[in-house]
């Protein structure tokens, strides 16, 4: 059983400890709490580098030190503190960095509220367990045979068919009925590849609808998006060795993943708000009277600084865009302002949680909106790679990983 060390402050008093345990149990993991002495807590400044006024945070730091000194105590670490606590936010980030720098143990950090449920934590925990359990499979660099992948996302469903390390068919449909959308996308990929369903040796499924779809089509691999997308991203960007950062701004949530040799090291997944998602860009395109596929090219001609954005919010941010248009701002400036707003919010609220190491790979459908990678490049001051088939990243990762299972 995978042992996840829980280093936290406030989870019992927020009433969510049971939810954390339920999520761990669902993914076949057990939560552990490394023993520390009072001396360890009193000396935390000497061993960790800082002590703070909150006792539970000092306890979490002392436990981090203990794990680094005795890596056999846990297979993975989850660092959790209350949302909106400044002291905890600083220490949560420092604990993650400390463990990352001093050990090879995968770390996940998360800020919770009383509304955090096991379901919210499930994908994150599943990814944490997968990185420990299937390290060998995740190290796989080549797809072999004839396999398929389906990414049942919140907004769109994508599918690919791969043969001997190459994508030979793709399918893409908006997600409506989960099963029907998956079947349609898969059908599209099969048709383009010119192969029959029966010829496919194995199917891997990821995304929100993975459990339902996976069961329905008898998938050999049902896997969360963090590990699958990491794999797909480094495969398509040809960055399988060394470090990389994967940014996926999705229709409903965003992922920022720090990858080492194709395996996720640290990651964040939000949920920040609709203002930092593909939905915001869809709304901006609609308001500009253009198709979403035209927004990116239009944005490349614009300058976000000509538009006063007063809010990141889906509603109030859109209001800023509308006001700018009524004041005579150019549509291209408004398009770029929308892209910059999304990128900036992800940069401010998510990328602080992971080590941003080059190359930076942007994936998912939003990465094809050219203004968005450009805005991210400006914010990060590094070149952003958008690989071919960027929107099929999850499906490609699933097709690649399932081929490894077939060989095993």
């Amino acid at each position: 059983m995978i042992r996840i060390a829980q280093l936290s402050c406030g989870s019992e008093y927020s009433g969510i400890q049971k939810e954390i345990e339920r999520a761990a149990e669902t993914v076949g993991a057990k939560l552990v709490y490394p023993e520390v002495s009072l001396e360890d807590i009193l000396n935390v400044e000497n061993t960790f580098g800082v002590s703070v006024s909150s006792g539970d945070l000092n306890l979490a730091m002392a436990r981090a030190v203990r794990i680094v000194q005795n890596p056999d105590l846990a297979d993975a670490v989850i660092v959790m503190t209350c949302f909106r606590c400044a002291e905890a936010a600083i220490i949560r980030s420092e604990i993650r960095k400390f463990i990352h720098e001093h050990s090879k143990i995968p770390v996940l950090s998360y800020s919770f509220t009383e509304r955090t449920t096991a379901e919210t934590l499930l994908t994150r925990m599943e990814a944490l367990v997968t990185t420990v359990k299937f390290r060998g499979l995740l190290a796989r660099e080549k797809q072999t045979g004839l396999t398929a992948g389906i990414d049942s996302g919140s907004t769109t469903t994508k599918s690919v068919v791969m043969r001997d390390n190459a994508v030979i068919g793709t399918g893409w449909v908006p997600t409506t009925e989960v099963l029907k959308s998956a079947e349609d996308a898969f059908e599209g990929a099969l048709k383009m590849a010119g192969v029959a369903k029966e010829e496919i040796a194995g199917i891997g499924v990821t995304g929100y609808g993975r459990f339902l779809v996976g069961k329905h089509i008898n998938a050999k691999l049902i896997q969360e998006e963090i590990t699958v997308n990491s794999k797909g991203a480094v495969f398509l960007a040809d960055c399988q060795k060394g470090s990389a950062t994967v940014i996926d701004i999705g229709g409903m949530d965003n992922k920022a993943i720090s990858v080492q040799d194709g395996i996720p090291g640290g990651f964040t997944m939000g949920g920040i708000c609709a203002g930092a998602s593909g939905r915001f860009l869809e709304l901006a395109a609609r308001r500009l009277g253009i198709d979403i596929t035209e927004l990116g090219k239009l944005a490349l001609k614009g300058d976000y600084r000509n538009v006063a954005m007063n809010s990141y919010c889906y509603v109030f941010g859109t209001q800023s865009l509308v006001n700018s248009l009524s004041l005579g701002c150019k549509p291209e400036d408004v398009a770029m302002a929308a892209c910059h707003s999304v990128a900036e919010q992800v940069y401010e609220q998510q990328l602080q949680e992971v080590e941003v190491k080059e190359p930076v790979i942007m994936v998912g459908g939003t990465s094809l909106i050219e203004g968005l990678p450009k805005a991210m490049e400006e914010l990060l001051q590094v070149k952003v790679i958008v690989p071919k088939y960027a929107q099929y990243i999850g499906a490609v990762g699933a097709a690649l990983l399932v081929s490894g299972l077939l060989e095993d």
Partner: protein, 145 residues
């Protein structure tokens, strides 16, 4: 007999002194005991459920972290019930704490704004100070009805 809240609200030393002087000590462990001995254990180990932070909204706004509000759902009612208070400044970890510094600050504020008699003390650092510490508590508690 007076109901006396102590700060830190988990201090067993202070609680013991209050009880020895014939008063009722209001402390967090008792509030937790009430929760965990309830018939329905919903959320071990403390049995604070997501309802706790919502109850804590009585003492802190929604933008205050859930952990603070959850703690306040236990400590807040004790403050409301209190008729006197003993506050020890800079007590250190050994005396007990709520685990959260923001909660500690809010607890001290609410005790002071309640307007009950408060004994302010510094944590003793040697035997002589400890004797004075106990004597002051004894005198304070002796003066309560």
């Amino acid at each position: 007999m007076a109901k006396v809240i102590v700060y830190p609200p988990t201090s067993m030393i202070l609680s013991d002194l209050v009880e020895r002087m014939g008063h009722k000590a209001l402390v967090v462990p008792e509030a937790v005991r009430n929760l965990v001995t309830a018939n329905n254990i919903q959320s071990p180990p403390l049995n604070v459920t997501p309802e706790g932070p919502k109850k804590g909204l009585r003492y802190a706004a929604v933008d205050v972290p859930s952990g603070v509000r959850g703690r306040m759902s236990l400590i807040g009612p004790i403050i409301e019930e209190s008729e006197a208070a003993i506050i020890v400044e800079d007590p250190g970890w050994l005396t007990g704490c709520s685990g959260c510094s923001r909660t500690n600050e809010l607890v001290r504020l609410l005790i002071r704004t309640k307007g009950v008699p408060v004994l302010d003390l510094s944590y003793p650092t040697n035997d002589a100070e400890a004797k004075v510490f106990v004597q002051k508590i004894k005198a304070f508690l002796g003066g309560l009805k």
